[in-house]
């Protein structure tokens, strides 16, 4: 059990190192001079600022020092929490800009993931009940998983936002308001939050429903289900067992799907111009702010790793099979 967690931690550490290395390598090994290409596209008009930035970049990249030294200084910068200075919003540190956007992305992602997981599992279990239900829920679920996140976001924005006019379709809150702790602001915030949340929720729902449906069918075929049936146990009891057992792999599924869900959130944000990391990625791309882009990348990777680890711990605590091995090993 502790070995299991240790192994997982090792993989996550390795992943982190790989991610940082990718981050370090890309600007250095892609064709072209990164500093010049960044500056030429950064559209900086103030010559003084341009010179400051050129010096800064040359300093940061340290292209005249040997490669291994560049690599090491990259790491040491990282440990000081230094992700660089943004060119788009010069001279604001990348970290500050990211931290400003993170709450919006998390505010979309967490409720969408958790709610879609719960509702999707219920739906899937329900679908496995009868052939008719199964034949409707299953194709709908697959079509949902095949829907590009941004397209559903567009459809919702168009139908519920533009045509019906119920929800606002752009931004995190109205331009006329200032962030404050008031009912007016919070309701405005929620109104802007709802459509991006809904579109994330709906697309994710399909995947969970299908996963659950497949797991339940597998569980209902399992030996323990057959045994209980032979002893005349009611369907209700068997279904309850199957549902509980099918939940466990679905928790692992949460970790597997995380990358896709984050990607979905980023794309959805762009449609709604929602002030989270997705929109930040788009603007950093448009203004060629590579420090910002790479900072976001590292930030997302770290977030994914932490989430994965939490899911691992939850799984171990919930599944009696691993839990038993843990207590059995220590006693």
């Amino acid at each position: 059990m502790w070995r299991y967690i240790g192994r997982k931690l090792f993989v996550y550490l390795l992943t982190f190192i790989v991610a940082v290395t990718i981050n370090w390598m890309i600007p250095r090994f892609m064709p072209g001079d990164p500093v010049r290409s960044m500056l030429s596209r950064a559209q900086v008009s103030d010559p003084e600022a341009l010179e400051r930035m050129t010096n800064y970049y040359n300093d940061v990249f340290g292209l005249d020092t040997p490669l291994h030294q560049q690599y090491l200084s990259f790491w040491s910068g990282l440990f000081r929490g230094d992700l660089g200075i943004s060119t788009m919003l010069y001279p604001e540190p990348v970290l500050d800009i990211i931290l400003r956007s993170v709450p919006y992305t998390l505010g979309l992602l967490l409720p969408a993931i958790i709610l879609s997981w719960i509702v999707g599992n219920r739906f899937g279990a329900f679908a496995a009940r009868s052939k008719v239900l199964d034949n409707t829920v299953l194709p709908v679920g697959y079509v949902l998983t095949a829907t590009p996140y941004m397209w559903l976001a567009l459809l919702l924005a168009w139908s519920l936002g533009i045509i019906a006019g119920i929800f606002p379709v752009a931004g995190g809150y109205s331009f006329s308001l200032r962030p404050e702790f008031s009912w007016l602001f919070i309701s405005d915030l929620l109104a802007h939050w709802f459509l991006p949340f809904l579109s994330l929720f709906i697309v994710a729902l399909g995947g969970w429903a299908i996963g659950m449906r497949n797991m339940i069918i597998y569980e209902l075929e399992a030996d323990y289900a057959n045994y209980l049936q032979a002893l005349g146990a009611p369907r209700k009891l068997i279904r309850r067992y199957a549902f509980r057992n099918a939940m466990l792999p679905q928790i692992t599924g949460l970790a597997v799907q995380l990358g896709t869900l984050i990607a979905g959130a980023l794309l959805t944000e762009i449609v709604f111009n929602y002030p989270g990391l997705g929109t930040l990625i788009l603007s950093s791309l448009n203004s060629r702010d590579f420090f910002l882009l790479q900072g976001i990348f590292l930030f997302v990777v770290v977030g994914v790793l932490v989430a994965n680890f939490i899911i691992d711990i939850v799984y171990v605590l919930i599944d009696p099979r691993t839990r038993v091995q843990m207590t059995g090993g220590s006693s």
Binding site: A222, D223, Y224, N226, Y227, L228, Q229, A230, L231, G232, A233, P234, K236, L237, Y241, R244, N245, L248, D319, P320, R321, V324, Q325, G328
Partner: protein, 316 residues
């Protein structure tokens, strides 16, 4: 008479037509009788065991009747069977090792099962503990998850659970095939003890291991290609089999009283006929050294001496 099966026909539905897995099976099982049910794989013995408790979705009851303690057993009606299951007819499945829900503590699962079957767990709690001790288990296993138990322990737990409500008929399907020789013997002995103590009235012990059955069963019934070929007291079947198939089956054993492997049973030349479109007459005639013209008619199962039934024109 505990169980009376009369001309039972159960077919499997497949794409290519019905597979006549049980094609007119008739036998009686007395109170307190342990009957070994033997035959090559595919002879219908597992189908018979399943038919008595729960037909799976592809099995179809085509004809024949089953009576248990004088009452009709409506095997074709899944809902009508529910009251009989567990209370009257119970099962130790072939897959006993994986028959327990892996994410429930065993005690809790038993309680939930009992409650679902209209039994107050408290009423049988003491009995449950006593019987676990009888098979050599610490009643503390109830507080454990199945993963914490060894294969043999799980097997015994399932045995106790299946027989907890003192059923009239217990079907034990290949329960020993996954165990090592010494555990096999222990399980077989426990089953006899359960019968002796009246936990189960009578038992059908499905196996391909004739020598094991010989040590514990009162009678042995041999099946071939969906038919009963011979049923007699265990000693008679082993020492004086009358049906040519039984004779060859016994002859294929290295030595009576030692354990054998399934491969030995294939020592008889030829293969059993397909049951999709079974041949008329005696089903063994193509492999039978004694076959003659009469064998193109199906031989009836007749009592050639008290308690000894055989279906062969040569013995009749």
């Amino acid at each position: 008479m505990t169980l009376r099966v009369n001309d039972l026909k159960v077919y499997y539905q497949t794409l290519r037509g019905d597979v006549h897995a049980l094609d007119g099976v008739t036998f009686d099982l007395a109170d307190g009788e342990i009957m070994g049910l033997a035959g090559e794989s595919g002879c219908g013995k597992t189908t018979l065991g399943k038919s008595l408790i729960r037909l799976d979705s592809r099995m179809r009851h085509v004809g024949g009747t089953i009576e248990l303690d004088g009452k009709d057993v409506p095997i074709a009606d899944d809902n009508a069977m529910v009251p009989l299951r567990y209370h009257e007819i119970s099962l130790i499945p072939q897959y006993a090792m994986s028959a327990l829900n892996p994410t429930r503590k065993i005690g809790r699962m038993v309680d939930e099962l009992l409650r679902a079957r209209g039994v107050r767990p408290a009423d049988v709690a003491d009995e449950l503990r006593r019987r676990l001790e009888l098979v050599g288990l610490d009643p503390d296993v109830l507080n454990r998850f199945p993963i914490e138990l060894s294969g043999g322990m799980k097997q015994r737990v399932v045995m106790v659970i299946s027989t907890l409500l003192d059923p009239s008929l217990l079907i034990a399907d290949e329960v020993t095939s996954a165990l090592d020789v010494s555990t096999q013997r222990a399980v077989a002995e426990s089953m006899v003890e359960f019968r002796d103590r009246g936990y189960v009235k009578s038992m059908i012990f499905v196996t391909h291991d004739i020598s094991l059955v010989y040590q514990m069963a009162d009678t042995i019934m041999v099946m071939y290609a969906g038919h009963v070929v011979e049923k007699a007291p265990a000693g008679t079947v082993i020492n004086e089999p009358r049906h040519p198939y039984t004779q060859m089956l016994i002859g294929a054993l290295p030595e009576v009283g030692t354990t054998t492997v399934q491969g030995r049973l294939e020592g008889i030349p030829g293969t059993p006929p397909g049951l999709l479109d079974p041949p008329t007459g005696c089903r063994f005639k193509d492999r039978c050294p004694m076959a003659f013209s009469k064998c193109s008619e199906q031989p009836p199962l007749v009592e050639i001496e008290p308690g000894h039934w055989a279906a062969c024109w040569k013995t009749g």
